[in-house]
């Protein structure tokens, strides 16, 4: 099982109404309920994974505007961090998109309109992070060698 930790911030209610989400991994629901500052859950991963956090209870009247059309109150929240298997995926959280009725926004952690945050990642997550970072920045040619040393040592220690 893979452990997931989701950290949210700036959670804005409308009266007693709290944002509700559904978290899905590879199209299977792994959490349903209110948004909290921290949500921890576990799920089975595959090599290639699709993580989806769907904002499910937003309706038009949850956005209150004044006479000038400015938003004065809104049901919304932000995703702050994602930690997979105790590893903060850090800036790779931005390699995601937010899909909503009006289209797709790249690297959006703000849950305003009804829609879903979608992130594709691979497990083991450390290997994915090292590989992706090197592919982006071309500055870590030894990542795979070091990852293999790490894995071998880890397996040897935990086999005992």
């Amino acid at each position: 099982m893979t452990r997931f930790e989701f950290y949210f911030k700036n959670i804005n209610n409308i009266g007693a109404k709290i944002p509700q989400i559904e978290i899905r991994l590879n199209d299977s629901t792994i959490y349903t309920g209110q948004v909290k500052n921290q949500i921890v859950t576990e799920a089975m991963t595959m090599g290639q994974n699709k993580l989806e956090i769907a904002f499910v209870n937003k309706v038009n009247r949850d956005t209150i505007v004044n006479a000038h059309g400015d938003i004065v109150k809104d049901l919304n929240f932000e995703l702050d961090r994602v930690v997979i298997d105790h590893r903060d995926i850090e800036h790779l959280i931005w390699d995601s998109h937010y899909r909503h009725a009006g289209g797709k926004i790249d690297g959006c952690l703000f849950f305003g309109p009804l829609g879903s945050f979608i992130l594709e990642f691979e497990t083991p997550v450390l290997k994915w992070m090292l590989k992706t970072n090197h592919e982006k920045n071309n500055n870590d040619p030894e990542w795979e060698e070091d990852y293999n040393y790490y894995t071998e040592a880890w397996n040897k220690i935990h086999k005992k």
Binding site: D146, Y147, Y149, Y150, E152, A153, W154, K156
Partner: protein, 335 residues
């Protein structure tokens, strides 16, 4: 192949210490470049039973007890000899470092010379103070007006310097004061030093490489009876660091000066052979081929702004971490 094994061992030890991936990755780079004492279990246990700080500070006889005990402790070493130590007077030193600083202070007008590969402290200090110094490759580059600091065993190789007696004869003829840095003496074997040369001004020892007491700064300096400086003044008026002396005395009363070599010599040779390293006379160091160039003191030299000199240094590989993980290392040795 041997370097791959060395990396595997390093990752294993560091991960066992609870470090994460990135921390291990950083630590692997300096894993073999250190020069610290082995954290030997019985020594650590004994150190945990050190006398109270207050009792050490209040013991007026502690410094002289330590100084006298230290001399006989050194002379009882089964693997090495240094004849003529009785010609010198001991005074406690804050590690070997205070002895070096005192030597620099007593010979401010001399040009200080060091064989290439010598302890980096000297070079960093001399560079930063803007004082005269230079590296040498051969003792014939030493002449009147110079002063020499020489580590025995030599810092870069862990072996006795070649032609030590010729160097000391030459320095005596040229009236060149010499400081012999014997910091590795008690973790080495086959070192035979004749101190009966008039050029020898200072002989310094340290416990920092022998026992895990580096942060207590315990050293012993030997100088001629007639020499005088601030360090000796404090010794004469019994105004030295009694806590260092107390910890030093506590440890040397229990463990002989050949304890480390006696205990680790076999394992050291097995490890060096398995990693295709050339064993040295010093228990914690071995010499690596060019494949090991990233694992010697290169990073340290760069950190000190001495990267230009790195090509002249040996790939001195420190095996301390391996020796103190005996059980684990034996598993790797048998794989």
């Amino acid at each position: 192949m041997s370097l791959i094994l060395a990396k595997k061992i390093a990752w294993h030890i560091l991960l066992s210490q609870g470090l994460g991936f990135e921390e291990c990755r950083q630590a692997v780079k300096s894993f073999y470049s250190k020069s610290r004492a082995i954290n030997d279990g019985p020594v650590v246990d004994h150190l945990k039973k050190s006398p109270s700080v207050y009792n050490m500070m209040m013991d007026n006889s502690l410094i002289s007890k330590f100084q006298n005990s230290f001399t006989s402790w050194i002379q009882k070493n089964k693997f090495n000899t240094c004849s003529g130590l009785e010609l010198f007077e001991p005074d406690i030193s804050q590690g070997s470092t205070q002895s070096f600083d005192s030597f620099f202070l007593r010979h401010p007008d001399k040009k200080h010379k060091f064989f290439l590969g010598e302890y980096l402290y000297h070079i960093v200090v001399k560079k930063n103070l803007g004082q005269k110094w230079s590296f040498i490759l051969d003792h014939t580059e030493l002449s009147k007006g110079d002063a020499l600091i020489l580590s025995v065993p030599f810092c870069d190789t862990g072996n006795a310097p070649k032609q030590l007696d010729q160097i000391l004869t030459h320095c005596t003829e040229q009236k060149i004061p010499v400081l012999l840095d014997l910091s590795y003496y008690t973790i080495s074997h086959g070192i035979n030093i004749d101190l009966n040369f008039d050029c020898i001004d200072t002989v310094s020892f340290s416990l920092s490489k022998t026992f895990p007491v580096a942060y207590a700064r315990i050293g012993m300096r030997y100088t001629r009876k007639e020499s005088m400086d601030g360090q000796k003044l404090h010794s004469n008026i019994n105004y030295d660091n009694r806590i260092s002396a107390g910890i030093g005395l506590h440890v040397i009363e229990k463990f002989p000066s050949d304890y480390v070599v006696n205990k680790y010599l076999d394992l050291y040779h097995k490890v060096a052979a398995k990693l295709d390293l050339d064993a040295s006379q010093t228990m914690i160091f071995a010499d690596g081929t060019n494949d090991w160039s990233s694992y010697g003191r290169k990073e340290l030299l760069t950190a000190y702004g001495l990267e230009d000199d790195s090509k002249f240094y040996k790939n001195r590989i420190c095996l301390t971490e391996l020796l103190e993980n005996k059980q684990l290392i034996e598993e790797f040795l048998h794989d």
